[in-house]
């Protein structure tokens, strides 16, 4: 699937994914490190806030503690009577505005005339000073927590906070100090001195703790009772553990246990009641065993981070979108020309070179490619046009050449045997031009009954000019030949005629001879041509000896000698052009005179036709696949002599 997707898709996807990942990484790192900084900050703040509030509470509680402790000291060491006790107690309540009640509860009354219990108590109610004596019997103060606990523990104690008068609205706490007297060396428990204070101030202190909008402080007693809480119905009616049980929140219970054990800590906490996330700092109020917790609302504290995070996230997404758009534009600028070119290529492949290509809009690689493609298309179009034209003209020339070939061939005698009624000689010839038309030629004709003229020639150059020159040469030879003129003279005349108007400086090699068909005598002249072979019966093929002479048409006033030879009955003369001996094989070796002579020797005795085809086969076999470089012409005349003579 991926493989077949477009470049644009791959480019955008891979870039978006990788930059998205990088962004996420940076984003997460940024978020968590900011959060860490904030949390550290909050912890510091939480700690100092909680400690300052706890200290405030502690200061008030410990200053309250001093009063009953001082009184205990007095009762343990001084002597007093009932009136004194009452006066001191009254003064304590009167002169200490924070104290709303005080009691001295004796285990047994130290004064005569009293029942065993004695517990005078002064307290403020509705601005008035009231006095009462508590009873000590069953249901009385002996089993009250404020009396029994310090007595049993032998140390001062803060009571659990409680409402005045059972159902009242005023929340109180009582500090109870046990006092003793040493009687005959034995420390004897005497009773308990209490001072009660209203906890309104404490509730105010804790209630004043507001952290942003939803953060708050909570004070719990030693039993975990909620002394202050934003939810009024929980105050003094529920413990932190009850709350934990109701909400099934074991973590809350664990925090509560740490708090009542006097530990401090900073922990994250999710309220199961409101689902709100908080950080809680808790710290003990050591003198009373109570504990203060301040809840810092996580959502509000991280709101700035969250806002920043949102901004970063939006910027990131925006950036990624911009990146994608940019990439899309770039990718399209690459792929659009490619797509166009792909379609154009298909069109061109179908042969439509007129397909429209867009103009390159930029100088980038795609633009360069498009430009190159455009010029390639144009060149291709031009080329094909030119090719079409060239082909057309070449075809015309070829057809003309074919006609020329036919004409040239028709110039040469090609009917064999040419003189079927003459038994004293036999002729066979073959020509094979290297191109459509060539410069080689052969000819034979009877000038009278007993004289056979024969010629073989090779015009310099090849092709059309050579063929025209050849035609002219052949015509001249034929026109010039007549009985009584020696072959040397004939060539001399032909030379002279050819030189006239020979502006192209062409020439030909010609071997010309005349055979007396009665005697076998041959007169001949050579104009620069290869000497033919004489094939005598039973002997090796030999060259016809003589002067080679100069080429015909080359030198003005050139004269040619006439040689003579005699053919016996059965002898043959083999004439050829250099196309035979200079045929080359793949190793660039020439067919050579020797190879020809050997072959002729082998073939002597055969009829002229077989002899020529034998040589032709040998040459073809020799040159094999090599193209024929030069025209080839061969002619054999076999003299049989007179049968009737």
């Amino acid at each position: 699937m991926w493989k077949n997707r477009g470049i644009a898709f791959k480019l955008i996807l891979s870039t978006s994914v990788s930059s998205g990942l990088i962004f996420l990484l940076v984003f997460a790192l940024n978020y968590f490190s900011s959060l860490k900084i904030v949390v550290t900050d909050i912890q510091t703040n939480a700690q100092s806030l909680a400690l300052s509030k706890a200290n405030m509470i502690e200061t008030i509680l410990s200053s309250t503690q001093k009063i009953p402790e001082t009184l205990a000291c007095f009762l343990e060491n001084g002597s007093y009577d009932r009136e004194q006790i009452l006066r001191i107690l009254r003064e304590i309540v009167e002169k200490n505005p924070e104290i709303c009640g005080s009691t001295i509860a004796f285990e047994t009354s130290p004064f005569e005339g009293k029942s065993s219990a004695f517990a005078p108590s002064f307290y403020k109610a509705n601005g008035k000073m009231l006095f009462s004596e508590l009873s000590g019997d069953s249901g009385g103060y002996f089993t009250s927590d404020w009396y029994q606990i310090p007595k049993e523990l032998s140390r001062p104690q803060w009571s659990e906070p409680y409402y005045a008068g059972g159902g009242g609205n005023m929340l109180l706490a009582t500090y109870s100090v046990p006092f003793y007297r040493v009687v005959r060396g034995e420390t004897q428990f005497m009773g308990v001195i209490t001072a009660s204070i209203s906890l309104e101030w404490l509730q105010n202190i804790v209630a004043s703790i507001k952290v942003l909008q939803t953060g708050y402080g909570v004070l719990i007693s030693k039993n975990g009772t909620l002394v202050t809480h934003p939810l009024k119905e929980l105050i003094m009616n529920e413990t932190i553990f009850g709350l934990a049980e109701e909400r099934g929140d074991t973590k809350l219970r664990e925090i509560g246990r740490k708090m009542i054990r006097g530990e401090s800590g900073f922990v994250p906490f999710q309220s199961m009641g409101t689902e709100e996330h908080y950080w809680v700092y808790y710290t003990p109020i050591p003198s009373s065993g109570w504990a203060l917790a301040i809840l810092f609302p996580r959502n509000e504290l991280v709101v700035d981070i969250n806002r920043l995070t949102w901004v970063v996230a939006i910027l990131g997404i925006l950036g990624l979108s911009l990146l994608s758009i940019g990439l899309t534009v770039i990718a399209r600028s690459i792929t659009k020309p490619l797509t166009t070119m792909a379609m154009a290529t298909q069109e061109i492949a179908r042969g439509n070179l007129d397909v429209e290509l867009p103009l390159p809009r930029s100088g980038d690689e795609a633009g360069v490619l498009l430009s190159a493609f455009r010029s390639m298309k144009d060149s291709l179009k031009d080329y094909i046009q030119r090719l079409t034209e060239t082909t057309a003209s070449k075809e015309r020339i070829e057809s003309e050449l074919m006609i020329a070939h036919d004409i040239q061939m028709s110039l040469l005698p090609k009917t064999f045997p040419p003189f079927p009624d003459r038994e004293e000689f036999d002729i066979h010839a073959m020509i094979h031009p290297a191109r459509e038309v060539g410069g080689d030629f052969y000819d034979f004709f009877l000038i009278d009954h007993d004289h056979l003229c024969f010629a073989i020639g090779d015009v310099s150059g090849k092709g059309v000019p050579a063929s025209l020159f050849m035609a002219m040469t052949k015509t001249l030879i034929k026109a010039t030949s007549s009985g009584g003129i020696a072959p040397g003279e004939i060539l001399t005349r032909v030379n002279r005629d050819l030189i006239q108007g020979n502006d192209a400086c062409m020439f030909a090699t010609i071997f010309f001879g005349v055979l007396n068909t009665n005697t076998g005598k041959i007169f001949y002249a050579n104009g620069g041509h290869n000497y033919p072979f004489i094939l005598r019966r039973g002997n090796e093929a030999t060259w016809l000896e003589g002067n080679r002479g100069i080429v015909v048409g080359g030198v003005e006033n050139a004269t040619y000698e006439t040689g003579q030879a005699v053919l016996e009955s059965g002898d043959s003369i083999f004439l050829y052009t250099d196309g035979v001996t200079e045929a080359m094989n793949e190793r660039e070796e020439l067919f050579s005179d020797d190879r020809l002579r050997t072959r002729l020797t082998l073939l002597q005795g055969h009829a002229p036709k077989e002899l020529i085809s034998g040589v032709a086969e040998e040459v073809a076999e020799f040159s094999q696949n090599m193209p024929q470089a030069d025209d080839i012409a061969m002619m054999v005349i076999r003299f049989s002599g007179k049968r009737n003579g």
Partner: protein, 327 residues
């Protein structure tokens, strides 16, 4: 199985409702032995759901409290029916008051002793020489019998209504009830595994607790009233146990009316524990029946403890309303 048992019981109990609804309502009053809480959920639920009216009773539930001993109120004619412990009922009966038990709601003793493991108490013997806080009167009978049983010499000190002395380690062992103080201790931050509990019913001292009492005279005058009250009350309990949330709502409303701080979590615990204490058998019809063996065990211990001198006859003390009586 238990639920099935309850349902069958419920069906049986609803049968006479149609008949009873036609009759004019009889006025009656009932005094629980403590202020409103889930310990008396059955009565409040029966009241709110109209079960008493269905049984022809126009009932007034009086507010109980420490200053209102139910059997005293009963003998003084201040209430027609009262809830009280079996041991208290026996004490009153043997001291000549003609009080009778007409329904034993709580079959299993909820009273217990509780210690912190940190005070190295794991067996009853470990309490020897320790400081134990005890409530007064009938609440002391089982603990003292327990101390005798295990031959313990303990220092007892009086215990009031709070468990703060225990929480602050002023005593080694404290008295508690399974449905109330135990839960208060847990919800003061002590984990259950930090505590060692001694249920008296596990130490051969099962004292069935809350039962319904009336005067012999009241019963004789109109047995159908007493029986109707018992039936409606049992219906109330069955309904409360099968509809705990609704029952809690009802109980909490009574607590609020009495201007006592209401704590749903605590009441929920209490109602669940009451179910453990009231429904001890799957067999329908067993609810409310005082078992003679329990009775004999309690009266024997009371006698041994010197609380009672004579053991009243079971049949004269416990009167169970069967169908004959109602007719």
């Amino acid at each position: 199985m238990r639920r099935t048992g309850l349902s069958i019981l419920l069906c049986m109990l609803f049968v006479p409702v149609v008949v009873a609804a036609e009759k004019p309502l009889k006025k009656a009053s009932f005094l629980p032995q403590w202020s409103p809480q889930a310990q008396f959920a059955g009565y409040y639920v029966a009241y709110k759901k109209g079960f008493y009216k269905d049984h022809g009773i126009d009932l007034t539930i009086l507010q109980g409290g420490p200053d209102r001993p139910p059997l005293l109120f009963l003998t003084e004619g201040k209430t027609d029916f009262a809830s009280s412990w079996l041991s208290t009922g026996l004490r009153w009966r043997s001291s000549g008051h003609k009080v009778i038990n007409i329904c034993q709601i709580v079959q299993r003793s909820a009273l217990m002793l509780i210690a912190k493991k940190s005070h190295l108490i794991t067996t009853p013997r470990d309490m020897d020489g320790k400081k134990v806080s005890l409530w007064g009167d009938e609440f002391q009978i089982q603990p003292r019998a327990f101390f005798r049983k295990y031959d313990l010499n303990v220092e007892t000190i009086p215990q009031a209504f709070s468990v703060n002395l225990f929480l602050r380690d002023g005593v080694d062992v404290a008295s508690a009830t399974w449905y109330n103080e135990y839960h208060t201790i847990i919800n003061s931050g002590v984990d259950p595994d930090e505590l060692r509990t001694f249920f008296f019913h596990e130490h051969g001292l099962n004292f069935p607790e809350d039962g319904i009492y009336t005067l012999e005279e009241t019963f004789k005058r109109d047995p159908s009233l007493s029986c109707a009250f018992v039936k409606a009350s049992i219906e109330g309990w069955v309904y409360a146990f099968s509809h705990p949330d609704e029952a809690l709502d009802i109980v909490l409303r009574f607590i609020e009316q009495a201007k006592i701080p209401a704590n749903r979590t605590h009441q929920k615990w209490m109602l669940n524990r009451m179910k453990d204490l009231v429904v001890i058998s799957d067999s329908p019809g067993s609810m409310g029946r005082l078992q003679q063996t329990d009775y004999q065990n309690v009266s024997h211990v009371l006698n041994e403890s010197g609380v009672i001198e004579t053991m009243p006859e079971f049949k004269s003390f416990f009167v169970w309303c069967d169908k004959d009586v109602e007719k």
